[in-house]
């Protein structure tokens, strides 16, 4: 049974809009996903019917909001198959999640320790660790890329040692779409006693991670990438790890006792959820997962890989078009350049045709440096995109090239 894309498109109000007189063709899904009516309606419903601050509230509305918030946590737990619901920390997004972990490791590592990071990472999984290294003197080592956009696994094995304390790799690269062999990376790292953080921001809309099966120590994602609201994301951490890490932000909710002399911290997950959380964000996050699971990830994966193959084949007909990243396992992302044309020019003309792609370095400057380029055009497809849109994209791209050459 394949996915009924016409039915699905009706779920997304934005897909009816026009841009510069043309129907919107949204191929910027790796930057953020569009939202189905069901998720939008759950947000409105919250504000119209049971908006309230949560926890400690005795009254009914607060109780309803708290239940909805905690229920969202359970949905997330279930989706990612975490063992305990308190292993799911609700954050404002992947960047926040990673900073929380990096901050936690600041006091746990010292200058004898090494951390291992892939060259494929998003800035959000690089800069927090650089900031940490400045504080505790730990050394940052890099797993290099190969020409095809895959990580150099042999080099990973060589660089991994018993000095390595933490390894960070994204599940899927946002710049190239490469799906990394995280299960192997996790088990090899564990053999040498290193913890592993997987940045799942780019993976979660395409594939379902089973966290217990992966046996990963930390996993992060952002709801806005998977049909959910902005300003909400998650950090999964194994209970043992979350108990070991010091709290990140101080404030309401995360404490159990406060006096000016001494403050004791609350239990998980509250220890890491200081302040009024993004309540409506959490609720929308949970509903977005419900929506995706109703469609089913097998169907989503199959359909998106069909789109990827189709688009790749078509684009390769364009002279001088070079695709960056052709890993065997990749999600529906095509990063490319055409001859000497600047990605900004291509993006601007495509926009005139109503096509939204991302251009530039995609917050992954090391990847661009690896290829010696200043940026790419990135077209990223979602399960609500169609082959017809890809055809139109192909035709428009040819026109853009003609104009710009």
């Amino acid at each position: 049974m394949t996915l009924d894309v016409n039915k699905i498109r009706n779920d997304f109000p934005i897909l009816k809009r026009k841009v510069n007189g043309c129907p919107l063709v949204y191929f910027d899904n790796a930057a953020t996903s569009q939202k189905p009516s069901k998720v939008i309606a759950s947000i409105t419903d919250y504000y119209e019917n049971y908006n309230s601050n949560i926890h400690r509230g005795v009254h009914t509305v607060s109780q309803e909001a708290t239940d909805a918030y905690e229920n969202a946590r359970k949905k997330i737990q279930k989706h990612f198959n975490a063992k305990h619901s308190e292993e799911i920390i609700l954050t404002s997004g992947t960047t926040h999640s990673i900073n929380l972990v990096a901050n936690g490791f600041t006091s746990l590592l010292n200058s004898d320790d090494e951390i291992l990071i892939s060259e494929l990472e998003h800035h959000s999984n690089i800069v927090p660790w650089q900031m940490m290294c400045e504080k505790n003197g730990a050394k940052l080592k890099v797993i290099p890329l190969k020409d095809n956009g895959e990580l150099d696994y042999e080099s990973f094995l060589k660089k991994l040692s018993n000095k390595t304390k933490v390894v960070f790799v994204n599940h899927v690269s946002n710049a190239l779409g490469t799906i990394n062999p995280i299960k192997k990376i996790i088990s090899e790292s564990h053999k040498l006693g290193a913890a592993v953080l997987i940045d799942g921001a780019q993976a979660s809309s395409h594939l379902k991670a089973d966290l217990q099966d992966l046996n990963v120590d930390f996993y992060t994602t952002s709801a806005h990438k998977l049909c959910g609201p902005t300003g909400i994301g998650m950090l999964y951490g194994k209970k043992e790890w979350l108990e070991k890490l010091p709290p990140y932000q101080g404030g309401g909710e995360m404490i159990s006792e406060v006096t000016f002399e001494k403050t004791t911290y609350a239990e998980l997950p509250n220890k890491f959820e200081a302040g009024t959380p993004n309540i409506v964000g959490a609720i929308g996050f949970g509903n977005a997962l419900d929506y995706l699971n109703e469609i089913g990830f097998e169907k989503i994966e199959a359909y998106e890989s069909e789109l990827l193959d189709y688009a790749t084949t078509r684009l390769k007909n364009i002279p001088n078009l070079k695709i960056y990243g052709e890993a065997k396992n990749k999600t529906s992302v095509i990063s490319f350049n055409i001859g000497e044309l600047h990605s900004y020019d291509l993006g601007t003309i495509l926009d005139k045709y109503g096509i939204a792609v991302r251009t530039g370095q995609h917050c992954a400057q090391p990847v661009m440096d690896f290829f010696g380029i200043s940026g790419t055009v990135r077209a990223s497809f979602s399960f609500y995109n169609t082959k017809k849109e890809i055809d139109y994209f192909y035709e428009s791209l040819k026109k853009a090239v003609a104009m710009l050459s």
């Binding site: 400690r56 109780q63 708290t66 905690e70």
Partner: protein, 138 residues
């Protein structure tokens, strides 16, 4: 009396009331007759978590029956505790472990069953079952 009999008795009693106000008044009344925990046992390790008012619970095995004592600063919480103790105190650990909790719904306290509820009902039940488990294992 066994757990089911006590539960049925309570359901019968509560079924006489027409509105929440009478139910609450009765529950508050019950709270006044609760078997109080000794002040020496009002220690942190006997505090139930997640309750906005302090709520203590203590258990002792006597002739293979668990005797619970409790107290709370808030009288509604104390009333809820009294209802639970009437059901579970003086029962065997095995019976407590196997007990069904439908009666809470039937006496109109279902709203209190949410795990996030600040009266600690769920935590109290968990703690009661936890004691029962601990004593069955021995």
């Amino acid at each position: 009396m066994g757990i089911i009999e006590v539960q049925n008795e309570i359901i019968d009693e509560f079924s006489l009331f027409e509105d929440w106000m009478q139910r609450y008044e009765y529950m508050i009344e019950l709270g006044k007759s609760i078997e109080l925990i000794e002040s020496s046992k009002k220690i942190d390790s006997n505090l139930i978590k997640g309750c906005q008012s302090k709520l203590w619970l203590h258990a002792e095995l006597n002739n293979n029956k668990l005797i619970f004592k409790a107290d709370s600063e808030a009288i509604i919480t104390k009333g809820i505790a009294a209802v639970l103790l009437r059901v579970f105190s003086n029962q065997t650990p095995e019976d407590i472990l196997n007990a069904n909790l439908d009666f809470i719904d039937k006496i109109g306290l279902k709203e209190h069953l949410s795990p996030t509820r600040a009266n600690g009902l769920i935590s109290m039940i968990k703690q009661i079952k936890y004691y029962a488990l601990a004593y069955t294992k021995n």
